[in-house]
């Protein structure tokens, strides 16, 4: 039996198979226990109070920042900006660094595998600044070749936005290589870590990422808290994103001077409860350890892909090697629309995602309207994988086919 299962109240007393972890993960009881403890012992508005509760709330909030910084290998806590999620982190960079540094005729390079959240902000910048949005194409299995990277990076490339792990293919992109080559061209690189930070150790300094974004809710944290990491010199030069309280030094009738990092980018009352929950989630993940997480996911993914490959009429997308899926298995059943597949599996208490996975350009490139996706995490089990695979072999029957 999976030893982590019992940490999650949502799995108690039912046989639901939750295979939609790339969308959001489940949360262990301790995450909300920590949030409740904050609420019950020191809730006050952080960062400005002159009394004990507010000081304590500030400490807890900044402690969360420290934990998040250590989690991804940031040199300093002030390089961690708390946002609502990875989407907001990317938008922050687009609206501030992007609008200030990208101009007419410049190029923004992103991959065809990006989530909409790493496409639309750059479409906006490109449109407003008359810049060009260029796509890194991939091979059918999701590989981005060195030749492709080298041919698409030019002297006009100002920014590269790259998903660390594709939420459809599950493939880990060669971010270190992309970053090294982009830096040679003088470009800045934003890594969308929404699908990587939950599954593998991240070291933003080793990677040499200029910006790194991730969400708390995909790594057992609460919804509504995410992180933007940035290199200090970049963050310091950037104009603020949102303005208002908590992010100023002096305000006169006509002007204001902004607070130091990271507060310059955290206007208004912050999500301290969320940050405390994120910290609890990160500590939980660290206790389990990425070695265990990766090993468990790899074993489950290998089993799942093997079972699906032996099931007639099933196509599995992405890499041959299950260890290159990051727990994400995207597939289709011949003749069955993914929404119908998800609907009938729902009646079997199996929860998967179906549709375009917020990656419509990729779906179009793959030549499919939509796909079904099972995505695993360390709390899933082999029994679940087997039950899932058994049911997959019955789907065509439920949808009216004779075989």
């Amino acid at each position: 039996m999976n030893p982590y299962r019992k940490d999650f109240p949502i799995f108690e007393g039912n046989d639901k198979i939750y295979f939609d972890n790339a969308a959001t993960t489940q949360r262990p009881a301790r995450v909300f226990a920590e949030m409740t403890a904050f609420n019950d012992t020191c809730n006050a508005n952080p960062l400005r109070g002159l009394y004990a509760w507010s000081v304590e709330a500030t400490d807890r909030y900044e402690q969360a920042r420290h934990t998040a910084a250590a989690f991804i290998g940031a040199a300093q806590d002030c390089q961690i900006i708390f946002t609502r999620n990875a989407t907001e982190s990317i938008n922050l960079v687009a609206y501030t660094w992007g609008m200030a540094n990208i101009g007419e005729g410049d190029e923004i390079l992103i991959s065809i595998m990006e989530h909409h959240s790493n496409i639309l902000p750059w479409q906006m910048v490109a449109r407003q600044k008359k810049a060009r949005l260029v796509y890194l194409e991939c091979l059918p299995d999701g590989t981005i070749t060195d030749e492709e990277i080298e041919s698409k990076l030019t002297d006009r490339t100002k920014l590269v936005g790259i998903g660390h792990v594709s939420n459809v293919m599950g493939v880990t992109n060669p971010v270190e290589k992309i970053i090294a080559l982009a830096h040679q061209k003088g470009a800045v690189v934003l890594v969308d870590g929404a699908q990587s930070a939950p599954h593998m150790p991240i070291d933003v300094r080793k990677m040499d990422a200029d910006f790194f974004a991730f969400s708390g809710h995909k790594l057992c944290g609460p919804m509504g808290i995410g992180v933007l990491y940035g290199k200090k010199e970049l963050l310091e030069d950037m104009p603020p994103f949102l303005t208002g309280g908590e992010m100023i030094e002096y305000v006169t009738r006509e002007s204001a001077t902004y607070a130091e990092l990271p507060h310059k980018f955290e206007a208004g009352t912050v999500n301290a409860t969320g940050a405390v929950g994120l910290e609890a989630a990160i500590r939980y993940i660290q206790e389990i350890g990425f070695e265990t997480i990766m090993k468990t996911e790899e074993t489950l993914t290998a089993r799942l892909i093997a079972r699906l490959r032996e099931t007639p009429h099933v196509t599995v997308y992405g890499q041959e090697d299950p260890s290159k899926h990051c727990g994400i298995v995207t597939f289709n059943i011949e003749g069955c629309h993914p929404h119908d597949v998800a609907s009938v599996l729902d009646t079997e208490n199996i929860y998967i995602r179906a549709g375009h996975h917020c990656a419509q350009p990729l779906m179009k490139w793959m030549g499919v309207g939509s796909t079904a996706r099972a995505s695993l995490y360390f709390y899933n089990t082999e029994e679940e994988v087997d039950r899932f695979a058994d049911k997959i072999s019955q789907v065509r029957g439920w949808l009216g086919y004779g075989d």
């Binding site: 069955c336 629309h337 993914p338 929404h339 119908d340 609907s343 009938v344 729902d346 009646t347 549709g355 375009h356 779906m363 309207g369 939509s370 439920w398 949808l399 009216g400 086919y401």
Partner: protein
């Protein structure tokens, strides 16, 4: 009705063996209906003579519910006056929203089988795609 029974008893038949999924030779109106978020896509074709829908068909791709619903709709509207087809569309929408009476729902004949889609919010737009497209076409004539 549980969704598996819904598929078994009605949707699969119309999805896998549709009676009206082909191109009309001489349609008087053609309109594409799309659900962008799921990729359901139908091309609805009507032949209307003297305000009567004398023939209808569709083509397209999408989930079983979207395709089967369009096929059942066409079964129902061929030979009807356009006002009557519009009234049936209102009834279908009402059934999905849970506001139609039992008597009204009966007028939908086989399409009434999709009543339980009202409990499956994610699938509502699939079921109404054909009806929504037809309504748009017929309202266009009235403009």
């Amino acid at each position: 009705m549980e969704i598996k029974s819904l598929y078994r008893e009605i949707v699969n038949e119309h999805n896998l063996y549709p009676g009206h999924k082909y191109d009309l030779e001489n349609p008087t109106m053609v309109l594409q209906g799309i659900n962008p978020s799921c990729g359901d896509d139908i091309n609805l074709q009507l032949r209307i003579e003297d305000d009567i829908i004398t023939d209808a068909s569709f083509n397209g791709s999408g989930c079983a519910i979207s395709q089967a619903s369009a096929d059942m709709m066409i079964d129902l509207i061929i030979g009807k006056r356009k006002e009557e087809a519009l009234r049936l569309a209102e009834t279908f929408m009402g059934m999905i929203k849970g506001t139609a009476t039992a008597g009204q729902i009966e007028s939908l004949e086989e399409a009434a089988a999709l009543q339980d889609i009202s409990h499956m919010p994610a699938r509502v737009k699939c079921a109404v795609l054909g009806w929504r497209t037809m309504r748009q076409m017929l309202e266009e004539i009235n403009k």
